[in-house]
């Protein structure tokens, strides 16, 4: 099943076109890494996919249901209810974590399933504790975000996304704000998720990690997808000059 299908996506900020003719299909269980120089539009792509930015043109479908339609050269967004239904399909892990500072760890993880999805409180609690255990924070459920290290906060953010039971999780440079020693722990968790057949789209600069976990690697530059393929084809044996130039500089 195609979990995500983006077709001919275009995004303008005023006069400036930041994304152009982006088409991307993600199948269930696939792990995709997006690489490319800074300013190439990787974050904007994830933000359009998660409705944080409105696309200028193009269509976006989740689980083979079209949410954003392209009509007459413009992207058309559906009703609030349909958007809400579509939002339940994905999760997003930010570079800057964005935990809610006034909620403790457990509430950060459980509030959305309880108050947005109206799920049974006890069941959510049980699942949340399981997730916290999975990211190694079972003893921190009463702590507030300000009492946690960056790595711990990012683990909570991952648990928060997981408890929502999304079909797909987007990661926007999840380790860029972290120290190298801490990065490894987060990458390990993501690797475990990949092995558990979670569908993921990961924007990252960790090339070794991308090579190890990805089914497919996408190279972006100047708002375009330049090429995509297996890690081997893109990272190790690309014959595209821009890809090679980018990889050489890392």
């Amino acid at each position: 099943m195609k979990v995500l299908e983006i077709k001919n996506l275009k995004k303008d900020f005023g006069e400036k076109t930041v994304l152009e003719d982006i088409s991307l299909t993600v199948n269930k269980g696939e792990v995709i890494s997006v690489i490319g120089p800074s300013g190439s539009g990787k974050s904007t792509l994830l933000r359009c996919a998660t409705f944080l930015e409105k696309a200028t043109d193009g269509s976006i479908a989740y689980c083979e249901k079209e949410v954003v339609k392209s009509e007459g050269g413009r992207a058309i967004y559906p009703s609030k209810a349909e958007m809400k239904a579509a939002r339940s399909k994905f999760g997003l892990v930010f570079q800057s974590f964005n935990l809610f500072p006034h909620f403790n760890v457990l509430k950060n993880v459980t509030d959305a399933p309880i108050s947005v999805m109206k799920r049974d409180r006890e069941q959510v609690m049980t699942e949340a504790r399981e997730m916290l255990k999975r990211v190694g924070l079972e003893d921190k459920e009463n702590a507030y975000p300000c009492e946690l290290s960056g790595g711990q906060q990012q683990r909570v953010a991952i648990a928060r996304a997981l408890v929502m039971n999304p079909e797909i999780i987007f990661f926007d440079e999840p380790t860029s704000a972290l120290d190298p020693e801490i990065t490894a722990g987060i990458l390990k968790i993501m690797k475990e998720l990949a092995e558990a057949d979670m569908t993921m789209v990961i924007v990252t600069h960790e090339i070794d990690f991308a090579r190890a976990v990805s089914d497919r690697v996408i190279f972006m530059a100047d708002g375009h997808i330049i090429e995509q393929g297996s890690p081997k084809d893109i990272i190790d044996n690309s014959d595209n000059e821009r890809t090679r130039a980018f990889l050489r500089k890392l």
């Binding site: 998660t50 609030k80 939002r87 500072p101 006034h102 959305a112 947005v116 999805m117 928060r160």
Partner: protein, 518 residues
């Protein structure tokens, strides 16, 4: 958990304050006799007076509004079967009060001279001369000795008019020019404070008031025998209201004829000042003898601080009531204004911006006057005197909502955009995002500026005096004037200070409770 405890604590303290102020406000209403008469079919006769103008109309040590003029009005009402409503007003707003129908007449040592065409006047009933008071040991013995001296008068008083008004005599005008300075103060209490402390050399005022003040204050002051001017007092009705004037005059003549008028004058030691002539003979209603009123305590004994504090209690309640009601209305109103200010629709946003800039850019006192008298002048509505309380609350709420709106906006904008983005991805609706994510963080952000604003509100409540709403400061001024003593003002100051300490303490506690996260 901590969060909900904070909320409960906060709501609890608000409720307590509100209850307390309601209770104290009620005490005030009862004690100042402003409760409406049980018999509503009786005609109400509302007399406007400056509550710090003894012996004509002022607040005595029991918190009652008394005075020569009020006794006369009382007697007129008794004889007519009317209900007397004594309405203390801010002297500067007397015309608005009269025009809007909030009061029926101004009866308060009201000088006719120079205002002949502005009101419909009763016959003059007091002949009042302007005299000069100096310290008993002063070298000033006559008017010419005032050359090069500093003289003080009440603002907008007959004494001021006698020196600088259009109808002032050339003699008085040049006398005034010879002064070092002619100062103005808002009430006689301040005038005496100035004289006592040597800041001014002489006070010029109405003779009736002068005799009373000098008597009250003991041997320290004397009145110069040379008078500055002579003038007459009358009752001022709205221009054209001859019907009511004639009704009142008829009774006054009857009172003059049967001796009641002079009896009341004697009670207030104004027998030398009164000048009401007997009317052309006319049949007068036989009046039943009124129970003798006991003469007011004229002793110069000072009230104790405890007594003053007790007297001010009603005013404190009124202040608390203004404070609490303003918060209750201005906080949600401010939040709504913030939403309007932050909409994406430019026109609406601009309107909110304009409103806020007007509210913040003009004096609160002016806004209070507009709210109180605007309905009459703009829409021709007749507002009764109970409206002044609503006007105070409306004026304060509208003004503070503007300030709160700006504080809220800054507090909302200080919440990182990532918070809203995270909430959006998790599926929170806009309402949920605001309620659960943005609002609690905003509250934490705004506590410091909010504390400042609330403390300002405590002090600003004293501006209610502009609408003659008797809160603690106005009451303190009245008692100070009647008692010739500044202690009440000091007690009021202590009240404001303690109130603010309490506000700062509560806000500090809330801030501490919210310190569980950064």
């Amino acid at each position: 958990m901590t969060n909900s405890r904070t909320k409960r604590y906060f709501i609890g303290s608000i409720c307590m304050l509100l209850l307390l102020s309601l209770f104290m406000g009620m005490t005030l209403t009862l004690s100042s006799g402003e409760v409406y008469a049980e018999n509503e079919s009786k005609k109400t006769f509302t007399v406007g007076f400056d509550a710090s103008f003894p012996p004509y109309g002022y607040r005595d040590e029991n918190g009652e509004y008394v005075g020569f003029d009020l006794d006369l009005a009382e007697e007129v009402c008794t004889r007519k079967g009317w209900t007397l409503k004594k309405q203390p007003i801010d002297w500067d707003s007397k015309d608005m009060e009269l025009d809007s129908g909030a009061i029926d007449c101004i009866w308060n040592g009201f000088t006719i001279n120079g205002r002949e065409n502005d009101y419909t006047w009763s016959e003059p009933y007091v002949d009042n001369s302007q005299v000069v008071i100096v310290k008993a040991d002063s070298k000033i013995k006559s008017l010419s000795d005032l050359k090069g001296k500093t003289v003080v008068v009440q603002a907008d008083s007959s004494a001021l008019a006698a020196f600088t008004g259009d109808d002032a005599t050339e003699e008085n005008k040049s006398l005034a020019k010879s002064f070092k300075e002619l100062q103005q103060v808002s009430d006689y209490n301040s005038a005496f404070l100035n004289l006592e402390s040597g800041m001014v050399d002489a006070i010029c005022m109405d003779i009736g008031v002068a005799s009373y003040q000098v008597k009250q204050r003991g041997e320290k002051y004397i009145i110069l025998s040379e008078e500055v001017s002579s003038e007459q007092y009358g009752v001022g009705f709205k221009l054209g209201n001859t019907a009511l004037r004639d009704e009142v005059m008829e009774v006054l003549y009857a009172m003059k004829a049967d001796g009641k008028f002079d009896e009341i004058a004697k009670k207030w030691e104004l027998e030398t000042a009164v000048c009401l002539k007997a009317a052309a003979p006319k049949e007068t209603t036989a009046d039943e003898s009124q129970p003798e009123k006991t003469a007011p305590a004229q002793s110069a004994t000072h009230m104790s601080v405890g007594q003053i504090a007790l007297d001010l209690l009603g005013g404190m309640g009124a202040t608390l009531l203004i404070f609490c009601l303003t918060l209750i209305f201005a906080l949600p109103l401010g939040l709504i204004l913030t939403f309007i200010r932050m909409t994406k629709i430019k026109v609406i946003q601009l309107l909110a911006k304009f409103y806020i800039s007007v509210m913040r850019g003009t004096p609160l006192m002016l806004q209070l006057l507009v709210v109180c008298y605007g309905p009459h002048y703009v829409f021709g509505l007749n507002t009764d005197s109970s409206f002044r309380f609503y006007a105070v609350i409306i004026g304060f709420s509208l003004n503070y909502a503007a300030y709160f709106a700006e504080i809220f906006r800054a507090g909302i904008q200080a919440v990182p955009i990532g918070q809203r983005e995270a909430a959006s991805v998790l599926g929170y609706s806009r309402g949920q995002t605001f309620r659960k994510i943005v609002f609690p963080q905003m509250v934490k952000n705004i506590l410091p500026p909010m504390t400042n604003e609330v403390i300002t509100l405590v002090k600003d409540t004293s501006l209610a005096f502009a609408l003659a709403y008797t809160e603690v400061f106005t009451l303190a001024k009245q008692i100070a004037a009647a008692e010739a003593n500044i202690m009440p003002l000091f007690v009021a100051g202590v009240f404001y200070y303690v109130f603010n300490l309490l506000v700062a303490f509560i806000m500090g506690r809330i801030e501490k409770k919210l310190n569980y996260y950064h």
